[in-house]
């Protein structure tokens, strides 16, 4: 047994390592930012900037015609323009890099709570070197800021769920609702997940014999805070669009996800560039193309003037199309999930598109191997680690619900960016596997680990033609296609 002095030294040693890992992650991300500048704007990045300019120039938050996006990310960019004018985007990227500390911190905190110090430190080391995740800190998508809120929110929720009788439970749950609620204003996708993740806590309390009314009181308080955070913007949308909603992206996502043309946004910009160069485009496997059934895409409801009504009409058309073509729907889902787990990333997409300067592209082959390797290993080992090592209890429920939720949203529209909220969890799974191995384990856990990894490999095989094309284009340039 350790003496109190030894205990203190152990804690200090862990804290030093913990801080060292965060510092190393920060340095790597700033280094990456320095090498990546001036990275060109792409797709939604330019859209976010446009909305921020509209906010600055007119004081109005315009919609995107096809989406009603949440307001916080354009608001953040607008603030950066206000503070730094021409250097506004540099400021935004730098603040995002700083915010990733919260991602590293929360990943290690969750790992420490669920496993031990070693797993926490290894998950931190993996967070440092996860290049696709690191690269989002200098890209102008809301993912970094979202994860900087979502990670700590999850850490608080897991703490509250693991220790439901702790005096800090109420504060932890309110902290969860506060951070997750602000996160919804960055990324609407977590809107339904936030209340859903309170279920494992309710289940734990129920098993402890807690009275139903008390469970209701405990669970409803963070829900009320969440509602309070979402209310002002929802009321603004009610006043402007006549619809009580935080954001509205489902109609357009249904257009993209339930249509006859296969849409994967890791692929589309690359194919657009190939088409512009009169080169053959990258295609999914022949058996997974809608052209086999001569399906033509259904059009957007451009004639409907009001945005929420237009998106509703898109949704109706998408669902009608799905009812008429159930076979295509099922085959399409297979391709979507394959897109979701393909070991490509926006870093590799940007490399393929030539958006990075020579300072970064001189190491492009190494970066592609690093990024693809990090994605693939994190997915495979993370899945095996979580399936085999994650302790049963509310945290397992939270992990499983989050995994299922993003798998469900990814089966509508998929690309590598949409799996990002799962990456910190997978890093923890990876670290647990590295530190604790596979033995001794109950048989059902081994079967679960083997089954999930086999499914993952099968999905990689399905997506291989486009994955290989994208990685080849990223490491050698678009001219290698064809």
């Amino acid at each position: 047994m350790k003496s109190p002095k030894e205990d203190k030294q152990t804690v200090q040693g862990f804290s030093r390592k913990f801080a060292g890992i965060l510092a190393a992650g920060l340095i790597l991300r700033f280094l990456l930012l320095g090498l990546a500048l001036p990275v060109e704007l792409q797709s939604d990045e330019a859209n976010y900037v446009y909305l921020a300019l509209g906010l600055e120039r007119f004081g109005l938050f315009f919609d995107c015609y096809r989406f009603l996006w949440p307001p916080l990310y354009p608001g953040f960019l607008r603030l950066c323009f206000l503070l730094a004018d021409e250097q506004g985007l540099l400021l935004a990227r730098s603040l995002q890099v700083l915010s990733t500390l919260a991602i590293g911190w929360s990943t290690m905190s969750i790992a420490r709570r669920l496993f031990n110090d070693s797993v926490a430190l290894v998950s931190g080391l993996l967070w440092i070197v996860h290049l696709p995740l690191a690269s989002f800190s200098h890209l102008l998508w809301s993912e970094s800021l979202f994860l900087a809120l979502w990670g700590p929110a999850l850490a608080l929720l897991i703490a509250a769920s693991q220790e439901p009788n702790h005096p800090a439970r109420g504060r932890r749950l309110l902290g969860y609702a506060l951070l997750a609620g602000i996160g919804v204003h960055l990324k609407e996708a977590s809107l339904y997940l936030t209340p859903l993740l309170l279920l494992p806590l309710g289940w734990t309390l129920r098993r402890q014999g807690t009275h139903t009314l008390k469970i209701l009181r405990i669970i409803s308080q963070p829900l009320l805070l969440l509602a309070l955070i979402l209310l002002p913007w929802s009321l603004r949308n009610l006043e402007t669009y006549g619809r009580f909603t935080v954001a509205s992206t489902l109609g357009e996502n249904i257009y993209n996800g339930l249509n006859s043309s296969h849409r994967n946004f890791d692929l589309i910009p690359v194919n657009t560039a190939l088409q512009r160069n009169n080169q053959p485009i990258l295609q999914v496997r022949a058996s997974l193309r809608s052209s086999n059934e001569n399906l033509s895409p259904w059009p957007r409801a451009e004639e409907v003037l009001n945005l929420p009504e237009r998106l509703d009409e898109n949704r109706r058309r998408g669902l009608a199309f799905t009812r008429d073509h159930p076979g295509w729907f099922l085959r399409g889902r297979l391709q979507k999930i394959s897109d979701l787990v393909a070991p490509v990333s926006f870093l590799t997409r940007h490399l393929a598109l030539g958006h990075y300067p020579a300072s970064l592209t001189r190491w492009r082959t190494m970066l592609v191997i690093w990024a693809a390797g990090a994605s693939a290993l994190t997915l495979l080992l993370g899945l095996i680690g979580l399936a085999s090592r994650l302790p049963a209890g509310p945290a397992a429920g939270i992990f499983a619900l989050q995994g299922a939720y993003y798998l469900a949203t990814g089966s509508l529209v998929a690309m590598s960016r949409f799996r990002l909220p799962l990456v910190p969890l997978l890093l923890i799974g990876c670290a647990s596997l590295i530190c604790m191995g596979l033995r001794p384990l109950p048989r059902h856990r081994l079967i679960l680990a083997a089954g999930s990894s086999l499914i993952l490999v099968a999905l990689w095989i399905i997506g291989w033609p486009t994955t290989w094309g994208l990685l080849k284009a990223a490491s050698k340039g678009l001219e290698v296609i064809g």
């Binding site: 001036p38 060109e40 704007l41 792409q42 797709s43 330019a46 859209n47 900037v49 446009y50 909305l51 300019l53 509209g54 120039r57 007119f58 004081g59 109005l60 315009f62 919609d63 995107c64 015609y65 096809r66 989406f67 323009f81 004018d85 021409e86 506004g88 985007l89 109420g170 309110l174 009181r217 409803s220 308080q221 009320l224 509602a227 309070l228 209310l231 002002p232 009321l235 006043e239 402007t240 669009y241 006549g242 043309s261 296969h262 849409r263 589309i268 194919n271 657009t272 088409q275 512009r276 295609q283 193309r289 809608s290 895409p297 451009e302 003037l305 009001n306 945005l307 929420p308 009504e309």
Partner: protein, 193 residues
Amino acid sequence: MRAWRGHFVLMLLMAGLVALHLASHRSNDELRTELAHLLQPGEQSTASLPTSRDTLEAMHILLNRPQGFSRAEGQQLSETLLAEDDPLLREFALSIDLCRLSRHTDLNVPATQEQHVLGRTPPPMDGPWWLEYVTYRRKVGGKQVGGRRRLDNLELLWYRRALRGESPPHAELSMRLLRSAREARVGPIPRGQ
């Protein structure tokens, strides 16, 4: 009851927000009255006009509400705003709110806005024109609302400088416009698989 205190506080705050919303709600008729000087320009005195930002907000709400505005009214308002002296009102006419409602050409682009921004040969290519061009041409939403291509770093830099009254470099801008005109003739690039 003590245990439910936090709940009551949160619900009270929500009720306060809803009350604020109801108190500040403006009906379509009220918004139309506020905007009368723009909707019926000939009939209204311009002596006590609200500030531009208030006008923009009222228009933004009215233009986006279900049944707030018809296409014919949108077309009329676009023309009125594009003839205004206030640059902010002209730029607003090029935003998504009015491009959505404007009459469209055979190529499915907003006719009045397209003509205003790109109809002059050569275009002015000064700072105020660049602000209008970016607002019109770089918007999110696609061709039917006037958006073509997305903003890039250099265009953003020129936009920031135009906000301070500087004009984009003439030669570089000419080349860029020429290139985008050439690319526009190539036609739409097929998406998807």
